[in-house]
Symmetry: C2
Subunit: 217 residues, 2 copies
DNA sequence: GACAGCATAATCGTATACGATCGGTGGATG
DNA sequence: CATCCACCGATCGTATACGATTATGCTGTC
């Protein structure tokens, strides 16, 4: 249903309800409800008679996003590591593996690999709400992270950091893992900021994308 | 529209769509969309053919909630204080004042006084997303906070702490304000935990409330 | 008297239909 | 030739209607 929206995103493009409904073979009602759920999470905005649009991310919003993640995710990791099971670690390993082959647009698991990995190492915390919060934050920047990893030749640095983080989780080194996580998020934030500063708000979607200035809703 | 739901909450009671629609003079569609928005935020759950219910809060979830707030809110406050305007401070003062007369169930502003106050001192940060996250966290525990403040004779301690926090904000004492905020959240968490431990999950709604055990969805 | 099974009725989820509002284009005018 | 206005088409938001699923009360039996 709305899983298609979680992955295939196009910041700045207008999505028409009828169009989405037709392409998914259902009526507008479930489409609207899915869009409402996403809108409640801030992942898209409803415009009166223009449709739904995924808001363009400003550099300030990206900074905010990663600062929030750096505040929350260490808490999750700290509580998760002692409870990590072999299954969680395997899932994290799988997520790392599935990230290597450039799965162009269709993720086999339905979840984005990066989030799959982070989720796997947090899920043992048992913190449903915190996991949901982080997922929202992650989803907000995911399209842009994808863009700059694609454009900048693939985030091999990120892969290395993920691997080191996973190793620390395996060995139960909580403080070390938290440090690695913080550094990882810092690097990601820096890279995203550089990307957003470069081609200000142009690159996002190759064709058919008009990125309106954000009116600080 | 959905403002009615944000305030008048009844954890454990079943809400029927037709009933809500009839009481608000609209059809089910807008009601369902409002409920979907709230469900996306985790404020209620949809049950197949039973209706929507506000999930009962477990002690563990309350702990999680306040730990997350203690991780996020100081960040907001730290960035907000230097930018606080006279308007923000006045709004905070108003929120404190409107908390004193026991507004039984109908808040004049439509917002709960407690959240109004916290929001007022955070809003200058300009962090829309962080504010939204904190609002969700706040809304999750709000019904219970209301319950224990009502039952335990009114949160006069909370009022005092709010006032001290506001004073620190006025004088621009960032570190002091953050310390006060952390202590305030700690006290609230302790009080809520004590309340949840006492009458386990009984008190919530006087009549017509069956609180189902949480299946760790 | 207690329990299993069934019929009824209520609720949910979605498809269809319709009015309201707004963007876009063509023409008229300065 | 540029600008303004009016009309039209398109899209959104909501009301109504209907099938599917299931909670609930009754009845028959052990």
């Amino acid at each position: 249903m709305d899983r298609m929206l979680r992955g295939a995103l196009a910041p700045g493009t207008w999505m028409r309800q009828d169009e989405l409904a037709a392409s998914m073979g259902v009526s507008k009602i479930p489409v609207r409800e899915a869009l409402q759920r996403l809108a409640a999470l801030g992942l898209l905005r409803f415009e009166p008679n223009r449709g739904a649009v995924i808001p363009a991310l400003t550099a300030a919003e990206a900074d905010e996003n990663f600062t929030l993640r750096r505040a929350v995710e260490p808490e999750l990791l700290r509580r998760s590591i002692p409870k990590l099971t072999i299954v969680d670690l395997a899932e994290a390993e799988l997520a790392l593996a599935s990230d290597r082959p450039a799965t162009s647009d269709a993720d086999p698991s339905g979840l984005e690999a990066n989030w799959r990995f982070h989720r796997a190492i947090y899920v043992a915390s048992g913190w449903e709400r915190g996991l949901a919060v982080v997922e929202i934050l992650h989803a907000s920047v995911a399209p842009y992270v994808r863009l700059y990893t694609d454009s900048l030749g693939g985030g091999s640095d990120s892969d290395v950091e993920h691997q080191a983080l996973l190793d620390a989780c395996r060995s139960g080194d909580v403080d070390g893992a938290v440090d690695l996580l913080d550094a990882h998020l810092d690097h990601a934030a820096t890279a995203l900021r550089a990307f957003l500063d470069d081609d200000v708000v142009d690159g996002p979607a190759a064709r058919g994308s008009e990125v309106g200035e954000d009116g600080w809703s």
